[in-house]
């Protein structure tokens, strides 16, 4: 069902945890199925220097969280905002169709984290 790469990100997820002094935090949830993701970022000079996540959800949701934190790190905020559901799924070598819309919350959580950061650093 899942690609080897996805299984790797599920079994050995990268960047699990909280950043207590995060510069931005985004939370996204799918109310009908309950998948919920919290994404924390540290930002320096408009670049994401660190990202961590906490996720409640299926294997795909966890792998998506792991992958997007990896993808976000090192990117400028503008670059990071260009990450889409599809690009995360591609990086995971694909997602089963029914998981595409339910568990693929990473891009939304990341966007919210960036918005959170920007709202706090408007003139930053």
């Amino acid at each position: 069902m899942y690609s080897a790469k996805l299984m790797d990100h599920f079994t050995n997820p990268r960047n699990v945890g909280e950043i207590t002094d995060a510069d931005g935090m985004g939370m996204e949830g799918n109310p009908t199925c309950g998948d919920t993701m919290k994404l924390f970022i540290k930002v320096k000079d408009d670049v994401i220097t660190d990202a961590k996540f906490q996720t409640f959800g299926c294997g795909a949701a966890i792998a998506v969280s792991s992958m997007i934190t990896e993808m976000a790190k090192g990117k400028t905020l503008t670059e990071a905002l260009a990450i889409t559901k599809e690009s995360v799924a591609d990086e995971l070598d694909g997602l089963p169709p029914q998981k595409m819309h339910c568990s693929n919350l990473g891009a939304d959580a990341l966007r919210k984290a960036i918005e959170d950061y920007r709202s706090k650093h408007v003139q930053g």
Binding site: T32, G34, M37, T55, A60
Partner: protein, 400 residues
């Protein structure tokens, strides 16, 4: 890695003796059971023998057994066949909220044909109250169907009491015994039911063979019309090998039932004890009136699929009633109807044990499972703060 298969409720492995009983009908005895020559009569003989074996398992007469292709077909046949045969007497049916899809969705299809269906609730243990059934009866009620035991939480329903109420009101009573027949004693006379569904792959028989018990004299309309197979009640060339296998599986189940039940019960109790040591884990279903081989839980703050995947990495095969793990992407309607919050239903995990499982298998599971739970909880945003941070719950029509 040794397979630790704890998902017998999904399907059972086939016993070698059962496969052996099937083989002649894949090889030399290929005749159509309707044919009058030896090849046909031997095939017919195999069906007759199987009919006796299945009848004996549930204390029925052979003539009361109708072979079908699946538990779902038996349920469709029973519900539609009995309701339509009686529609001049009334168009009201009663089922419970804990029914299998194949009863639930058949009832819904009858609603579209003008029938009215009452869905009686279950309590927090998944138990139907016979009094509630009684109160739901109207002059129009012709058929009541209540599941014998839920395959999701294992609760065994008070079928005998409900059947007595149905009989008192001259209402036809059916029970879906797919999860029980061959696994616990099922005696149609003692239960007092008019019809009952069972399926071979739930007691180490083959997929593709199932049966409906229909009490002598009960009217039914066929689901499959055609030739005179099964006494004209179910047409189609008989699946002779699978039926022969079902017969053998019934014979073995009948002979070994107490031994098998003791085996799985002991393992289940050991597993349950081990798993309930983990905090924020709750057993679901009735603590006593339950399938001996079934242990079901909800684990707070984490989701079923993650548990299943990490268990699999250890060679442990289990199931979950969470939305994400169901191919229909719906959380177990049984858990929801028992009042389990959707958030907690996501953490459903179900172990259904079988005769091939060993104490070592269980001990391994009890050892590994807490680590799996911890590992997933370490990633969960709820584990520290509780469910407070949960987004608003939907109706779980779709899932992850």
């Amino acid at each position: 890695m040794r397979v630790k298969y704890f998902d017998h409720i999904a399907s059972n492995p086939l016993l070698p003796e059962v496969l052996e009983a099937m083989m002649p009908y894949f090889k030399e005895q290929y005749g159509n059971p309707m044919s009058m020559y030896d090849l046909g009569m031997n095939a017919k003989g195999a069906i007759d023998t199987a009919r006796e074996q299945v009848a004996k398992l549930i204390n029925a007469k052979p003539s009361e057994i109708i072979f079908t292709s699946s538990g779902a077909e038996s349920n469709n046949f029973a519900l539609k066949g009995m309701a339509l045969a009686r529609q001049d007497n009334g168009k009201h049916l009663i089922i419970s909220k804990a029914e299998h899809h194949s009863v639930m969705n058949t009832a819904r299809s009858l609603e579209k044909q003008g029938f009215v269906v009452t869905y009686v609730p279950v309590d927090e243990y998944g138990m139907v109250d016979p009094e509630t059934v009684k109160k739901s009866i109207t002059k129009e009620t012709t058929v009541i169907s209540i599941i014998h035991a839920s395959s999701e939480v294992g609760t065994i329903e008070p079928i005998k009491e409900i059947a007595a109420i149905a009989m008192e009101h001259k209402i036809c009573f059916h029970t879906d015994a797919v999860a029980t027949a061959g696994n616990i004693p099922v005696d149609v006379k003692d239960l007092g039911v008019d019809a009952l569904s069972m399926s071979a792959h739930q007691f180490y028989g083959p997929k593709g063979a199932a049966a409906m018990y229909l009490k002598t004299g009960q009217r039914i309309l066929p689901l499959i019309y055609g030739g005179i197979q099964e006494g004209g009640r179910r047409a189609g060339t008989e699946n002779v090998p699978a039926i022969a296998g079902m017969g053998k599986a019934a014979e073995l189940a009948d002979a070994e039932l107490p031994k098998r039940m003791a085996h799985v019960r002991q393992l289940r109790d050991r597993l349950t004890e081990g798993i309930l040591k983990i905090e924020k884990v709750h057993a679901t279903g009735h603590p006593e009136h339950r399938l001996p081989g079934l242990a079901s839980f909800v684990v707070e703050y984490i989701e079923g699929e993650g548990m299943l995947l990490l268990l699999l990495a250890k060679g442990i095969y289990a199931a979950s009633g969470s939305a994400c793990t169901s191919k229909a992407l719906k959380a177990s309607p049984v858990l929801i109807s028992m009042g389990v919050p959707v958030s907690m239903a996501h953490g459903s995990i179900v172990f259904s044990l079988g005769i091939g499982n060993t104490q070592e298998d269980i001990d391994l599971c009890v050892e590994e499972f807490p680590q799996i739970v911890n590992r997933l909880r370490a990633m969960s945003p709820f584990a520290k703060e509780g469910w407070g941070a949960m987004p608003a719950e939907g109706d779980s029509k779709e899932g992850a």
